[in-house]
Amino acid sequence: MPTTRSAKESFLIGASTIIPVMPGIVPFGMLTGVVTIAAGVSPVNAIFMTLFMFAGAAQVTAAQLLAENSTAIMIVATTIMINLRFIMYSASITPYLGKISIWQRLFLAYTLSDQAYAVSIVEFTKKNSPFQRAPFFLGACVSLYVTWMAATIGGIFFGALIPPEWSFDFAVPLTFLALLMPNITDRATALAAGVAALVAILSVSLPYNMGLMAGAFTGIFAGYFFSKKQRAHHV
């Protein structure tokens, strides 16, 4: 089926598909801002972090590790692991984009996000989608980016007003817990999380926060090998 909508229309519809997911993004963006401040980052630095990274879970992680005085290498390695999923989105969405300019490609390389990917791939895999794909995806990315920035910067200012005696630093690990659960989708991922938590606790005395990496890697491989074995049994 040929695309029947103009580029402008496709862009605007793409942008509007973000509206239904806003109830999830706006509070999470605000929380990211609040938690970054709670972990001890100054408001100005927090705004730069948000601009440079444009990624919630990674930003909360980096803030927490900065507060723990982790080494630079450890902080970079951990946040990169959390952001590795973007490679999957990038691989999955690119075949739909066709010929677009290098500037548009660079812009997408900065603004690709979980939600913009999710709403776009749903539209692109429909049989009768009338929209031009690149403008649709650009629209979704722009609209999510603006929403995220507004929510997070709002949260940064709000976070700066919360008095420290409210134990609000506890919101940081709670945020990780809340992000963890949706990633546990089956027994293999549950095993990965359990092993990672246990190993990280047992190896906490390793220098340079290496226990974090020890836990993460044993968790990943426990989950991977368990799922491989499961599949072997089913065949």
Partner: protein, 107 residues
């Protein structure tokens, strides 16, 4: 020193994240993602987040002596149950903070 580390860290993260987001978008499908890599990728978020959060909660020294300073561990377990039931970020944080305040108030 802290400030210099901060700028190096966030600049590096920003650039590498952009390279990951742009991996296929910028190279326009000259590569293919291997299935094995995609399989492993699936386990990264659960493992990294669990390894990050578990020691922070488990070893935290709190102020409630009756609970041996482990009020945050209890609050986190409550939040974990709520998270499992609702999968809602806000309810999870609300229940965890609420339990912590309650425990601090009770003892």
């Amino acid at each position: 020193m802290y400030n210099l580390t901060f700028w190096i860290v966030i600049t590096t993260i920003g650039i590498v994240t952009m390279l990951m987001r742009g991996s296929f978008i910028l190279t326009a499908e000259r590569f293919k993602l291997s299935d094995k890599f995609a399989d492993i990728l699936r386990f990264i978020p659960a493992s990294v987040l669990a390894a990050l959060v578990a020691p922070a909660i488990f070893f935290h020294e709190g102020s409630v002596q009756e609970l041996a300073g482990k009020e945050r561990l209890i609050a986190a377990l409550v939040a974990l149950c709520i998270s499992y039931k609702t999968k809602n970020i806000f309810l999870t944080i609300l229940s965890g903070m609420g339990t912590l305040y309650l425990l601090e108030y009770l003892f």
